[in-house]
Structure formats: C-alpha cells, structure tokens
Subunit: 294 residues, 4 copies
C-alpha cells in the first residue's frame, strides 16, 4: 500500500488528506497547528512530529502550503525535505505558488532523481471536502500517470497543463480570467440595475447570451439570485478575496517575467486591493460587487 | 395578413427582412441604398420610395438603423414617421441605441396611442441570416405578445427585459460584459502562452474551469483553436471592433446617466479605441488578441 | 457705463458678480435662489425678477450655471434669452459644459448677429472671491478684446484657447489631466509611506524631481503637509469630488465624439465614482487619497 | 586622496566616473565591456581586471548596474565583493533596483561593519554627463555626510530619503508618478487636438493652470513644441521606454510587498508594455504619445 506524507493541513489540506484516508491510503500528516494533526490522527492518519518525520517511509509527498516561500523553505536548502526523501519518491506540490518557485523545486528534485509534479487545485474548500477538486498539473507525463490514482481520490478533473511549472501557469491564468469575469459581471449587474432592470431578469438574459460565463452559471455576485452562492449568504464562505488578490499578484509576477501586458488583470488586482483596504479580505471574492453598489 | 414596413436594410436588416418574407409576411422595404431595396423586391417585398411610403398601409414598423440620431430623426420631429402611422400600429425598434433615445421614442409614440417595443438583437449577421437572433425587448408585455410571431420569424430567443428602454439597457450590459470577458480571455491566453503553455491546452483547461465563458466556448480569440471562429480566419467576419466600440460607448453613456462606476467596462472601451487607432476597426472584435501578442 | 446681466449666483457666480460691482460695472442679477439675489442687491446690483428682466437694457450677459442642459435651456428654444437680447450684445458663457452644447449656443447667437464667448473658469471659489480666476476662452478674438476688461475684473489669467467651444475643450483637457495627476500623486504618496518613507520627505523629493506637478506644488492630498490645502482640513472646501466627476464625464463625452482613447482619464472617472459611492462627493477632490490608505 | 572603485560603465556609469576623475578623485574602473574601461583609462582611471581588482585599495565602491540580480550577485554570496572590502569602506549603490534587494545588501554590509547607501539617480544620461544628477539616498545620515563630496561631483541635488532602501522607494514612487503624468499629459494633448485645439496653445494653457507638471514644463510629449525635448527628435535619446517599464515593474513589486493599490501606476505599466510590443522600447518614454494619435 502506498504511504503518503501530507504536509500542510489548512482549510484545503485537511479535507484533502481525509479523502486520501477514506480511499485507503496510509497517510502520515504534519502541520504546525497541532489540532489539525490530531483531527486527522483520530481519522486514522499517522501524526508525524515534523515534516521530516512525515516523509520517513513515505513514497509520495504532498504539500499544501500558503505561498512560494513556504514551499521553497520546505524542500530546498540545508535541512530541506529533498535531502531526506527516498530514491524513487514522488512529490505532489499542490500549493498555489509562483511558476518560477515551482521550477526551482522541480530542478532541485530532478538533480536528486526525484519525480515532482506541480499540481495546484481549483474548487475551493467545498471541492476539497467533496473530493471534486480540479488539478492543473505540470511535469512529466509518466509521473502524472503514477500520481493519477492519488489525485483521483481528491479530485474529479485532472488536466495535464504541460512541463514543469505549467500547472502553476494554468492556475494563475485561469484565476486572473476568473477575477476579470467576476468583476465584469458585477459591473454589468450594477449598471443594469441602476438603469432600472430586475437583477434576476438581467442575469438570466446575459447568462443565455454572449455575456455568459462561470459567474453567471454558478456563482452570481448579486445577493439573492442563487441560493447556494456566497452572495446570498453575506459573502461568507467560498474563496476569500485576499486569496484572489494573492493569485492576481502571482499572475502579475508571471506577466513581469515575460513582459506581458494584461491591463484587465492588473486592474482586477488593484480593485481587489481596494476591497481589502475596506476590510473585506475575508469575504468571498464575489464581494467585489459591493464596490459597485451604494 | 400583417403588413410590415421594414426600414434600414444593412448587413443586419436585409437578412431579417428576408426572413419575414420567407415566413409569409407582406413586407414594404426602404433604405437609402437602392440595391438593398431591389434585392428584397426581387424576393417579393414591396419597394417603397421613402420611409413614409413604406409605412403606408402597414400595421407594424420595424427599424434597424446605425445609431440614436438616425432613429430619433426617423420617428420624431416635423415629418417624423410617428405622425403618419395608423392608429393601433406597432413599432419594433431593433437598432442598438441609447436607452434614453429609445425612451424618447416610446414617450412620443405613447402620446399618439402607438405601441412600441425597443428590441435590439444579438447574434450578428450569421444569426440574422439563420433567423436565430436573440431579441432583448423593452416595453409593454401585451405589445410583446402581439410582436412575438414577427420576432419569432427572425430570432430564436426572445427576452422580455422590462419596461420602456429595458431592451437597450440589457443589450449594453451584455455587450459590455462580452467585451470584458473577450479581453480577459485574450490576456489570459497571451500570458499563458508567453509562459510556455500550449494555447489549445490552456484554452481547454480554462473552458472547463472557473474561467469558463462564452468566448472560450464559442469564439476563442486565439488563431487556429476553433475552425469556425473569426480568429481562425484572420479575424474576418463576425462582429466588427468598431461596432463593439460603439456599444461600449453606449454603456458608458448609460453609466454616466446613473453615476455608475464600471472600471473594466471603461477600460475595455479605451482598449478597443487603441485597436481602432491601429486600423483594425473592420476586423472582428476578437482581434483585440493582437494587442497582447507581438 | 456697461450694464451687465449676470445669471446664476451659486458658489462661483455670486463672488464673480460682486467683483464686477466692485469694479464699477452696473450689474443686473438673477437666480432662482432669492437670497443670493438679495445679497447682491444690497451690494448695489439691480435685482431682476427673471432672466429676461436681467438682460433688459444690458449689453453684456454672463451666465454661470451647473450644466449643459441649463445653458441650452436658458438661451435656446422658444422663450430663450437669445430672442430678447439687443443687437450688438455680447454673451460670456462661463459655465463648464460640453463643447458641443457651447457650439450650439454659439451658432444660434451668430445666426442672430450676437457675439458669444465660451469662457469656463478654473480657480475654484477662492479664485472667484479673490478675482484671480483663470478664463479659458473660445470664440472670436475681437469679441475677446471687447470682453477683456470685464473678465479682468473677475480673473487674473485670460487664455484664448481658439474658436467656438475651444474654451470648454481646454477646460476639460486641463481638468482631466488634473484628476490624473492628483490620483497619481495620491498613489505615489500612499505607496511610499507604506514602504516606510516620511510623507513630508517623499513629497518634497518628488516635487523637486521629475514627478513635480501642481498637486505637489499647491495642493498636496496627504493630510498635514500643506497647512492651506483641503487635505489639512479634513478635505473641506476646495473643488468638490462630484464636480471633478462631472468634468471627467464631460471629458469622456468629448473623447466619445472624436473616438479618442484616454485610458487614464477614463480610469480617473471610475475612481471618482467609487469615491462618490462612498459618500465623499462633497469633499474636496484631493480626498481621492482616502481610497489608497487604510 | 580618496580612491574610488567604480563598477558598471554603461550609459550612466561612464559619464559619472568621468566626472569623478574630473573632480580629482582616483578612480579604479571595471566593466565587462572592455572599450568602456579603456575609454576611462585614457582619461586617467585605473583599468581594473575584475570587480575584485577594482575594489583593491579603494575606500569607496560605487556600483551602477542594470538590475537587482546583478547587484545581489556583485556583492553577496561566495566571492561577493563584500568579503574583500576593507574595514571602514563605504558603498554607494546607485543602480535602480528593488528596495528589498537594496535592503539585503545593506544588511549584509552592516554585518561586516561596512557602510552602505542606496543612492539611485534621476536626470538621465544628460544629467550624468553634466554632473547634474539627482540622488535619492537611503541609509545612515553620517554615511551620507561622508559621501556628499563624492555625490556632489556627479550631481546637483542630493536628497536624504530615509533609512536603508528609502532611496529606492523614493525613486520608484517618483518614476511611477512621472509615468502617470506623462501619459496623462499625452492623453490630454491628443484629446484637445482631436477636438480642434492648437497643440501649442493647449500645452501652454495647461502648463500655467492646475494641469501643470514636469512634462509640460520640461519634456512635452507632443512633437515640435519643445525644441530640446525627445518628442521633437523622433523620440530619440532621453529615458528609454523599456527602462520606464522596468521602473514601473519595480513599483508594482513594492506595491505587492505592502498590498498597496495603485490603479494608475498599474495601468501605466500595462500601457508601456503595449508600447514595447509595438517595437518602441528603445524610444524615449514620451513616445507613449504615439499610442493616442493615429
């Protein structure tokens, strides 16, 4: 039976690890927050005392951490995990980080003969709990085939985006586009309502017309139109605005590295920062609607 | 049999009038361009010598004109059509114009006891030819029921957006959102490709993820990904950039009237104007992709 | 002695009319607000009972009104002032309005043999009181020479911007640029301070460097740096944000008429609308600083 | 006599080093481009064979390099210059780099007991040749007093911006503001001219009004208005657009580190990238005017 080390048990990592346990994998877990470790231990995981302890005896390492610096710090440098992993191990790095950080770890892993995939997710905490995440995977196709049963225990869509780092690139491109269409939808809703339209009617017309997009289908930012959307629950839950701002920052970092012009993406980041300044960082990212109504 | 006056036989009006003829309506047509009138006359229409001649004996008047001033000039003022229309007539004003212009005509028509609907369309010349246009209708529900068989001869989706002018509001909101998501898609494609992704792979990942939108479904702006899209035919055909700029201008005019803030919509207009300055006004609006690649 | 009719006695018009009285002109005043009329009457003006009464016997008419529609309504149409003005009269239209509205009045006046100048001002209520306004004048050079002694009683800078409407064009260009540099200054201040700089030091460095501009010289948006600036008085007084939003709207209207791309100007308008949505419309326009600090 | 090591002899470094020679300092120079070294050697400098050779015997080290990575690479890590500098030495780091990179070098230098100032410049190649650069200095006030005679040989304005890294922060804030006001000026010029104004008249009105700024004073982007400005010489010379894009990127990096919202600064970066995509990267940054005229 495959033994998996899982490092980083936050809002996303904890339910992901639980799904691995449910699927019958042996899982060794570690997080700086002891309560998360204990919660999984009572569900059958091995509670490791450190990241290094977690990887001991594991053939697969999964990490789910907040940002590039945590990932680089976990794997690289003196005392980094790479040095203590067994030959033939596989790393599934699921955090959303800068493509260049992912490539650094890829390179260092390759130098030691370790396989690695960057495999950031979308789908939020709901998808993590339900095991319906989308994985956008960068790295070797053979490694992806090896990882597929493990990813399938946590998600329902697995895309091979390309070579090392491509998963991260796909993720930031998708999330930049998501931010743009969410803001565009929020602006159109506010404009139409200010000009006398019923929000429900306008939303339905645009959804069925050329303005159709994911926000109108699944996640309308106008309160009360979709019972399950965060907008109908005072923008609680979902994907926090501060995390969207983080992803938009990664997109701008990628754009900087290639000199790409992304006027809409750059503006989206600035608008989310305005929202954060108003104290809405913990609210769902569809709360950008609030900027446009009185 | 209902006799319809059809005024304005351009790229959209001509195939719309032809579909009315095909559906068995008596149609009296007028346009300043004689060749368009002749073409429809040989298909069975009555070639009117003026707008006033066209409405003579007609119980329904359809107009499809370039801009607000043409519509106001057609119907209002001394010698405007309203004065010569029979009591009980119905006006279907299908041009894309400012909501406030539409409301002016509504008001003047109501003062004379004439019914009117503002009924702008989406679907482009292809939808006009195929009779699959979408109508976004503003005005009285009873008038819409009266108009429905006529609209059904030209389109396949008929939305009642609300009261007088609401059709125009829905149209500009939808098209502003369309411009935003088209530019957002073009930026994301260029960013991903510059960072090493295959365009086909990236487009498919975003289409199935939270970046999904009409452009990725039907009208990808990256050349070669969708055989039927204008992007795969050197951006010929489709919906011209200069018309998108016109609609974005109408959206800003609506935003001005209500003091609505639409940062993305305003930026979209400016970017289309940059594209027009580069001589691309006659190209399909997905040619905005060109701004973001070298 | 020249007799001047002065119509529109708001925050700007009232002190302007007072300066004309102080300079020895005979002034006939009218406003819908009776108290303003009485205040000037006690300073020696003739209190007219209507706009038509004001112009009776006057050879010069000055108007200072809120917006295009008021100006068009005052002069044009049935019962408009143009019909009751004496041959050889001169109109000084000092309101900030759309260039095309100004040109309409110019044309109608010319048809009746009346001279007209569009002469919008800058300098705010302080400049109006002190008689140090700047006039940006559009129209005939000979008419400007005739008007010069009158303008000189109210302002200290008189620019001949060009032909009919040119004064309004110069005004909206200048104010769009002013908004852009004010926001640019506010952003730079907030960015520098967030990164550890003393606001006073940063402002002085930029003022003496290539970032130097009118806001840094006269009107710093950071509180406490300039004792006389509105920023140091809780953004009271000065030029209200809602008036800046109005002028930016006129600039976009001018840009629409020529298809000009103004990304910064368009964004400035959207940001001021966000500020207005937050209830800051009556504050000085330098209050845009608040968007960028927590 | 103070001996100065000067590393980095590009368009800026070469004339700066020459001015030090002219002022009587002993200068040891190094650059990877041999011709630059030779040119200064014939003017009296010592031609060093490496950076390490240059600092040998020098009590002051000046560096003028393209970007953060070059500076970090020069000073830090194994074989970095810091290890071979004499106790009591002073570093004047004049490159424009990220504040955090500057702070890294500051920290490492402090750990070794070496004094350092970050001292980026403005004034361009013309200022470098004429010895009229502006220095924005971050670091210890005592070190600045020690450096002042040296800086005074190369520049005419010396600002103490604050603590370690503050010089870089002031530089990126200033240059972001400069970009914003240059684009704002270019937009206003294009808008006014499209609406019928004479460029010379409009520029003069705004220069004397509240739109006044450094671009209108010294560096008008409209061709032909200022004989000495790059705009009047086909945008040759001056400060290249690609360098402005670099500085705007540094500003966004600083904004990212503090979560600052800079909508205008972000848009300025995107517009410069559009200009670069059109092949104008080597032109003066006032060539942004070209985006807005046909």
């Amino acid at each position: 039976m495959t033994t998996i080390a899982f490092i980083g048990l936050g809002h996303m990592g904890l339910p992901m690890a639980r799904n691995l346990l449910n699927a019958g994998f042996a899982v060794r877990v570690f997080d700086l927050v002891a309560s998360a470790v204990h919660e999984l231990a009572s569900a059958g995981a091995h509670a490791a005392s450190s990241a290094a302890d977690a990887v001991s005896g594991a053939s697969v390492v999964i990490s789910m951490l907040p940002a590039s610096q945590h990932v680089e710090s976990l794997y690289l440098g003196d005392g980094g995990l790479l040095g203590s992993m067994a030959a033939g191990s596989l790393i599934l790095e699921c955090s959303t980080i800068a493509p260049e950080s992912a490539r650094k770890v890829h390179q260092a892993a390759a130098n030691l003969g370790l396989a690695m995939l960057d495999a950031p997710v979308s789908g939020g905490t709901a998808g993590a709990s339900a095991g319906t995440l989308t994985f956008m995977v960068g790295g070797d196709a053979a490694a992806l085939e090896q990882a597929r049963p493990i990813l399938a225990a946590m998600g329902s869509n697995i895309f091979h985006a390309g070579a090392d780092g491509a998963g991260q690139v796909a993720k930031v491109c998708n999330n930049q586009l998501l931010a743009v269409l969410m803001i565009g939808t929020a602006e159109a809703m506010a404009l139409g309502v200010a000009n006398g339209l019923e929000p429900k009617v306008l939303a339905e017309i645009m959804r069925q017309s050329s303005g159709g997009n994911w926000a109108l289908e699944k996640y309308n930012p106008w309160p009360g139109l979709m019972p399950s959307a965060p907008a109908s629950h005072e923008y609680r839950g979902g994907f926090m605005s501060e995390l969207m701002a983080k992803d938009l920052g990664l997109a701008q970092q990628a754009a900087q590295s290639t000199g790409s012009s992304t006027p809409m993406g750059a503006l989206a980041l600035q608008l989310y920062r305005l929202l954060l300044k108003q104290g809405q960082g913990k609210q769902d990212f569809s709360a950008i609607q609030k900027l446009f109504v009185e």
